[in-house]
Symmetry: none
Subunit: 414 residues, 2 copies
């Protein structure tokens, strides 16, 4: 089963948007064991879109076509699909009713051009997933098929997962099951991680199943993906379980989570388990630590709140930090204790540092002090981060959360 991806949008060719959709779809196809040999980008031009779809249909069994399903004049995918299928467009009453009700429920008037989204090529099936106003379409072309999904990433992903991949694996008559699991790590370099795993990768190369791959994910850390293939799901999952145990033995406590479990979710779960609450005082990170913790559903169980003490006076007035230099471990600790007391939390966290563009207090850009404080114990570290303002703030955020992750198990903070 050969599948290829066509991304539609002049902005992709002009480099105004990087086509991350095709990359993500390519990854899902690979994980599902489907071959994918080509990806094409084409602009908002009907003749060229049609030519690209015809080339794709000639050399592949299925085409996933992404973008151009919006309500505006440069959203041309529907018309081109009808032309490639050799059919007319017809209005789908169910889609029309749904779009009208979406606007009504938000108390907004529906612009008439939104109804163009209810036009569907005769013979095409509308996908069940409908996260936005643009419907996804399954368009048969002889023995082959074109899937059309919107370019909005969260809408696209829901349809690829919910309709496209299951439909493709059914068409392919797949019996083998491919499953993968990601171990998420923080605190080591890619080359050090590769060195730690080199021997294990050599061992696995003999059988070729399961396989390991590294994914560098910037501020989300380094990921190790295990992929296993087996006749049935339970067997594939068993292989993943066994390999995960082997890798955890090798990697130790740099592994902080699995699959979608990000650092903040791990922290919220660890605190909830221990019935502890946390409050955050932020200078250099300016709200990112609080922002990430609150992103976790159920954060209200453990997260009291925070103080963004951006100006030194806020540190002195609200958090009781002694007047003086503020990019020090002492100031970070005072901030952590201050916010813990002010917000009546068990544990206080704090960041203070220099995000740039200029140095401060004689300390170079990238200098950051982090602190974790409870009523019984405290911990502070100073780190030096490379990169720009945003990178420094993001890395400080996850490094602070990782510090708490490593302090909590000892149970000495409170």
């Amino acid at each position: 089963m050969k599948v290829e991806v066509v991304a539609i949008g002049t902005e992709l060719l002009l480099g105004q948007i990087v086509d991350t959709n095709s990359s993500w779809i390519g990854e899902q196809l690979a994980l599902a064991g489907l071959d994918s040999h080509y990806q094409t980008k084409v602009g908002d031009n009907p003749a060229r879109i049609e030519a690209v779809l015809n080339i794709a249909l000639a050399r592949s069994d299925a085409v996933i076509c992404c973008g151009g399903l919006g309500p505006t004049q440069d959203d041309l995918t529907r018309n081109v699909l009808a032309s490639v299928m050799g059919v007319a467009l017809e209005r789908d009453d169910a889609i029309e009713a749904r779009i009208r009700s979406m606007f009504a429920s938000r108390g907004r008037t529906m612009p008439e051009n939104n109804l163009s989204q209810a036009m569907v090529p005769v013979g095409a099936r509308v996908m069940d997933q409908q996260p936005g106003t643009a419907p996804g379409l399954v368009c048969p072309v002889g023995e082959k098929v074109i899937y059309a999904v919107p370019g909005v990433p969260y809408e696209m992903k829901e349809m690829i997962d919910g309709t496209v991949i299951p439909d493709l694996t059914a068409r392919a008559g797949h019996t083998a099951v491919i499953r993968s699991r990601i171990l998420r790590t923080w605190g080591t370099s890619e080359s050090a991680l590769a060195e730690m795993l080199a021997e294990r990768i050599d061992q696995l190369d003999t059988s070729g199943n399961p396989t390991l791959a590294f994914l560098a994910s910037g501020v989300e850390g380094l990921k190790v993906r295990i992929t296993a293939k087996a006749p049935v799901e339970t067997e594939a999952v068993g292989m993943l379980d066994r390999e995960e145990a082997v890798l955890r033995e090798i990697l130790g406590d740099i592994v902080f989570g699995v699959d979608d479990q990000n650092m903040e979710a791990v922290i919220v779960a660890m605190l909830a388990e221990r019935s502890l609450t946390v409050a955050v005082a932020e200078s250099v990170t300016g709200g990112y630590v609080s922002g990430r913790l609150c992103a976790v559903p159920g954060a209200s169980q453990v997260f009291q709140g925070g103080v963004v003490a951006y100006q030194p006076e806020v540190k002195f007035d609200l958090l009781g930090v002694e007047e003086g230099p503020v990019v020090t471990e002492g100031a970070a600790l005072a901030m952590a204790h201050g916010v813990r007391r002010a917000l009546k939390a068990d544990i206080g966290l704090a960041t203070t540092g220099v995000a740039g563009p200029d140095e401060a207090e004689g300390k170079p850009v990238g200098t950051v002090c982090l602190a974790v404080a409870g009523s019984m114990a405290e911990r502070a570290v100073t780190i030096r981060l490379p990169g720009d303002r945003e990178r420094i703030r993001q890395f400080s955020t996850i490094t602070l959360l990782d510090l708490l992750r490593k302090e909590l198990p000892a149970g000495e903070l409170v």
Copy 2:
């Protein structure tokens, strides 16, 4: 002159690397006034690379082929180029000597397979730029041309700037310049925006220059891109200026910025211009508003700090909100005034609402109250947002900043 881009590498298809090279090249082509209608990704397979190059040569005048020039077995571009050109490969003594001396100067032994990089199709020209071991090649194919550059971004960029773009513009024999500008908007739907601009787009369709396009950018709002083509840069920029003025007349105050200017940068600039400071009290957004403001270099000029009042008690204790329901405009206003006073800022901003997963105080998920308060005036609104927790928090953040953007010009807050 039609130019297209072919990126070579199985890792691109598997989604292990996002193809940012093609995006960058597309941007350079557009800036040089060269048409670019297609970009293709293909894996490390000689037959498929050759097929893709032949398709590209048939529909374009020039092809930029990126990747597959390294020394390993899956670097196949040289061989395929020779095949497409119908010539043999021959060893280039100058390249061989250069590669040998590069290794020698680093005190490293040269693996023999590196010499494969000295093999050049007969009739191809080696590019002058040689930042790495892989040579860039200019390969004539009849009247057309293929440029082969390495996939390593800094090597690729040096060759594109130094050889490919100058060679292409010389071949094109014209000096047309394409320039584009983006107007960023907030506060309307994509379809409503399209309706506002429909008449103008129809007018422009007659000449086809400049053109307009919409780019939906989620929480960054909707963008309108103007693209103009002219013999010289000043004329293209003049067209952009005139079209921007026409569009601003039509769109009014939904336009908040131009090109890379995001909402927080606009807010920081507006506050700095008026010598005003701001403080933020956040519940539902949990730090996102502060986080975005601090992301702007120079934020310290206007941003005092904030209180993340996630638990109701923090709202009562630190911000002086009256005990009672907290998802109300009254609570939002009390929070805004409370943080303004506590942090000694001119203006206070506040968010309180229900991000889900569960409803709160009898209000459905997505209900958010936003407030802007100064010593002389205040403003609060209640909005209903669709989507998940993260989307609700992100949309609340930019909507609050947009509310301040619209209140500031009247000058009545302080």
